[in-house]
């Protein structure tokens, strides 16, 4: 069964450093998403991406964040200068169409020290 994969499973970084979280969506899916879950809080939407551009983003997704589909298979989330409050589990998801089921990856736990 096809699945969304994410690497790494756990990333530790120093405050102020740049991090790139990687995702491989399901191959025939066209819509891609990033969500995050701070420990003990709700899963929060960050951004959706379609046709090589951002289609929707939340207030959380400020200039520190960017997304990219550098090739035909990867989808990345970059945080330019990490803050302590960026520590969270980051989930990538993909869907075949915009209103279909979103398939989630296992997440990357980001720890900012």
């Amino acid at each position: 069964e096809p699945e969304v994969t994410q690497t790494p499973s756990h990333q530790v970084t120093q405050m102020g450093q740049e991090v790139i979280l990687r995702c491989v969506p399901i191959s025939n899916h066209l819509y891609f998403y990033w969500y995050r879950q701070i420990l003990g809080q709700k899963v929060e939407f960050l951004v959706s991406f379609y046709n090589n551009e951002i289609s929707e983003k939340s207030e959380i997704f400020d200039d520190q964040f960017s997304v990219e589909r550098p090739d035909g298979s990867n989808f990345t989330l970059k945080i330019r200068s990490t803050k302590l409050e960026d520590s969270a589990m980051y989930f990538c998801a993909s869907s075949e169409s915009g209103y279909n089921e979103q398939f989630f990856g296992p997440g990357t736990r980001l720890t900012v020290l």
Partner: protein, 113 residues
């Protein structure tokens, strides 16, 4: 903006007993409704979804949910739970015309022998 409330953070239940996990939402427009399950160290997996049509929706693993528009609820039920149902359950909504999912805070279902 929409919001989702899951009133029960934890629900302990004995094996083979019925269970109901509650979800209420608020939105000024029509919504799509989803229940996701998260097993330890895994991503979010869709249990079921309501897009339109019959208000009683059946999903995987014997779960079902009923959409009640007047009470703005989408409670999840299972007539007889198994140990393997122990997991975190998330209710989520997306507004018509948007792709972002808004999640509730989750309910941890603990099935005891």
């Amino acid at each position: 903006a929409q919001s989702v409330t899951q009133l029960d953070s934890q629900v302990p239940v004995f094996e083979e007993a019925p269970v109901e996990l509650r979800c209420n939402y608020s939105s000024s427009v029509s919504v799509y409704l989803f229940w996701y399950v998260q097993y330890p160290n895994q991503g979010l997996q869709l249990l079921l979804k309501y897009l339109s049509g019959s208000t009683l929706v059946k999903g995987i693993n014997g779960f079902e949910a009923e959409f009640n528009k007047s009470q703005t609820s989408f409670h999840l039920r299972k007539p007889s739970v198994h140990i393997s149902d122990t997991a975190e359950y998330f209710c989520a909504v997306s507004e018509l015309g948007r792709r972002a999912l808004t999640f509730g805070s989750g309910t941890r279902l603990q099935v005891q022998p």
